[in-house]
């Protein structure tokens, strides 16, 4: 192999400044890492790092504040939208984001997220949907698919006794206060590019004071799904995308004209 002369080459991609130069505790292949990277890239591109305050939730991403290079607070399980509201209402010039998993946001946190969206809080929610409570070892979550085996649905999710999954984006998009609600996936480079664009639109919503923005990101959980990273992204594409369609559920008219 010929050794390249790096000084003469153009850097096409490097690690975003909004990510601290540290190891993460996320499992190998976990798409949390991709989501973190996309948020960091967008904030860098928009020059928002110094204005941003992040709200970490409780889940695998509880230590998100160790990985992002901007001000952060840590919320109790499910309460991040309320904490974010408290911050945004007293510091409206800051960019406030929450980073939440499906167990956090749609199980214990349903009250807070619905209220924040209904109020049209000018915050941005990054919603990581990997169909289980990851941090605590893979229990059934509101987004666990019917028939899916988890540690608290060992025989598969039986909708008769355990109910049906919740499609959060569809639900939240029905609220008038929600201005930008979309679902994307992180299972391949093309969809990751589309996810990054969506995150960009979400932060533009906040910067322009247009109201509540949320990007649902279908994600993998190799460890709890008991698969390797490659199998996980395949499973995500084959099983989760059909159940959670990738779509734009709410787009504020003022956003429709923006082009990136």
């Amino acid at each position: 192999m010929t050794t390249a002369n790096l000084e003469e080459m153009k850097v096409v991609y490097q690690r975003p400044e909004s990510l601290l130069d540290v190891n993460t505790h996320y499992c190998p292949g976990c798409t949390h890492g991709i989501a973190h990277r996309l948020v960091a890239e967008v904030l860098d591109e928009m020059g928002l790092r110094e204005r941003t305050i992040g709200v970490a939730s409780v889940g695998c991403s509880v230590f998100a504040y160790n990985y992002f290079n901007f001000d952060f607070v840590q919320a109790p399980h499910g309460r991040a939208p309320a904490m974010a509201t408290g911050i945004k209402r007293v510091r409206p010039e800051n960019i406030v984001l929450t980073y939440q998993g499906d167990g956090d946001m749609i199980s214990i946190g349903t009250g807070e997220i619905v209220a924040a969206a209904a109020r049209g809080e000018n915050i941005t929610v990054i919603f990581i949907n990997n169909a289980n409570f990851g941090m605590t070892g893979g229990q059934m979550a509101p987004t666990t698919l019917p028939g899916m085996k988890t540690t608290s649905s060992p025989n598969g999710r039986d909708v008769e006794t355990m109910g049906y999954p919740i499609r959060a984006s569809e639900m939240i998009a029905t609220l008038d206060g929600a201005s930008y609600v979309v679902r994307r996936s992180l299972h391949d480079p093309k969809n990751i590019r589309l996810a990054k664009k969506a995150i960009r639109y979400a932060f533009e919503t906040q910067v322009r004071g247009l109201g509540f923005s949320m990007v649902e990101l279908l994600s993998t959980c190799p460890s709890n799904w008991k698969m390797n990273p490659l199998e996980s992204i395949q499973w995500l594409e084959e099983k989760m995308v059909p159940y959670y369609p990738l779509n734009d559920f709410k787009i504020h008219p003022a956003l429709a004209e923006l082009k990136f």
Partner: protein, 371 residues
């Protein structure tokens, strides 16, 4: 300044506004909803933040967020809502940011009723939320006293990075009394050194109550305990009446203390050498004050609107040095002065038992009373 007639809840709200309150987040619950309603007009009028949250869970977490953002922020609630806020209070304590809560107690447990009680004493004074922390708890007995305590409360909690709770009962929230309001204090513009505000031109900060390493968590706990020691030394508050030549003392806080004062005055008129010790700070508890008083007394009578929650703290404070009797009403019932007067007469008549069974004796009385 002139005195005006104010409703308790509204007066407490205005006092906080004048103390430089920047944000209020609350939820309707009787008997303190007037605080929320008053704030919903007053705060926007002054360009400050107000929001009715989706629940007390939402409210306390909004307070948590704003406290992390370094502004003067408060909430208010009543007993069932206080229970919901316990999680948030523990997190706020663990994160070491200051805030204020007004708890207007009502009859319980459970949904109970909307009558006045002092049933939150244990949950508020002895921490409430999980973990080792102590809020600073002040209990006024009149609206003016509530206003005076609130005006300085923010300074205190900011000095110690503590949670401050004003513990009142439903009657104080609902009653109307003449009040002299303090002057309006401007909002504080300075950003505290711990606050998150956007990492412009500085290292980024993060605020969390997590310490995965137990040895680190222990250090955090030690910090909280050391600050608590300073609070215990500096922030004890109480008032006493007719204690100079007293042989007996009634001990009561808030409205119970105020009712007991009427009874003490009547008892004095009958020639009984009785006084009143009214703790104003329940946390830190005026233990030394009670211990010192106990040396000169023959007996104490604790009066509360619960089943003897402060009684335990009084018994602990006097260290078995003298008999302590108890009288209380529960479930939202407010005692009348003549009930307390009857108990004072019993105390003075004797015989007194230093057997620690005051609550049992009271329970027998309550069985007859409650019929």
């Amino acid at each position: 300044m002139t005195r005006e007639l104010w409703e308790g809840n509204q007066a407490m709200a205005e006092a906080c506004v004048r103390a430089g309150l920047k944000a209020y987040f609350g939820y309707p619950i009787t008997p303190q909803t007037e605080i929320l309603e008053y704030m919903s007009a007053r705060m926007p009028e002054l360009g400050r933040a107000f929001l009715q949250a989706e629940s007390e869970l939402g409210a306390i977490n909004m307070v948590y967020g704003a406290a992390c953002a370094g502004v003067r922020v408060m909430s208010s609630t009543s007993s069932p809502g206080t229970s919901l806020m316990m999680e948030g209070l523990s997190y706020i304590a663990g994160t070491e940011v200051p805030m204020l809560l007004v708890d207007v107690m009502r009859g319980g447990p459970g949904l109970g009723n909307i009558a006045a009680s002092q049933g939150d004493y244990n949950q508020i004074v002895h921490g409430g939320g999980h973990g080792d922390y102590h809020p600073i708890v002040l209990a006024p007995a009149s609206i003016q006293e509530a206003v005076d305590l609130l005006v300085n409360f923010f300074d205190i909690v900011e000095k110690y990075l503590a949670i401050g709770i004003l513990l009142v009962d439903g009657s104080l929230g609902q009653m109307m009394e003449p009040v002299e309001m303090p002057p309006m204090h401007p909002l504080f513009k300075e950003i505290p050194p711990y606050a998150v505000s956007g990492a412009k031109g500085r290292e980024r900060r993060f605020l969390s109550s997590i310490d995965l390493d137990p040895y680190e968590e222990e250090k955090t706990n030690l910090r909280l305990l050391q600050r608590w020691q300073a609070i215990e030394k500096n922030e004890v508050r109480f008032k006493d009446y007719y204690m100079a030549d007293a042989r007996f003392a009634v001990v009561g806080f808030g409205s119970a203390g105020r009712i007991a004062l009427s009874a003490v005055r009547s008892a004095r008129a009958e020639g009984i050498p009785v006084g009143l010790i009214r703790p104003i700070s329940l946390s830190p508890f005026p233990s030394q004050v009670l211990l010192d008083a106990a040396k000169k007394l023959d007996g104490m009578l604790v009066v509360e609107m619960n089943s003897g929650m402060m009684l335990s703290d009084v018994q602990l404070a006097v260290k078995n040095n003298l008999p302590v009797e108890f009288y209380g009403r529960v479930g939202g019932v407010t005692p009348f002065p003549d009930e307390v007067l009857g108990e004072i007469r019993n105390l003075a008549k004797g015989p007194l038992n230093n057997d620690g069974l005051a609550r049992e004796r009271w329970l027998k009385k309550l069985e007859k009373l409650a019929q």
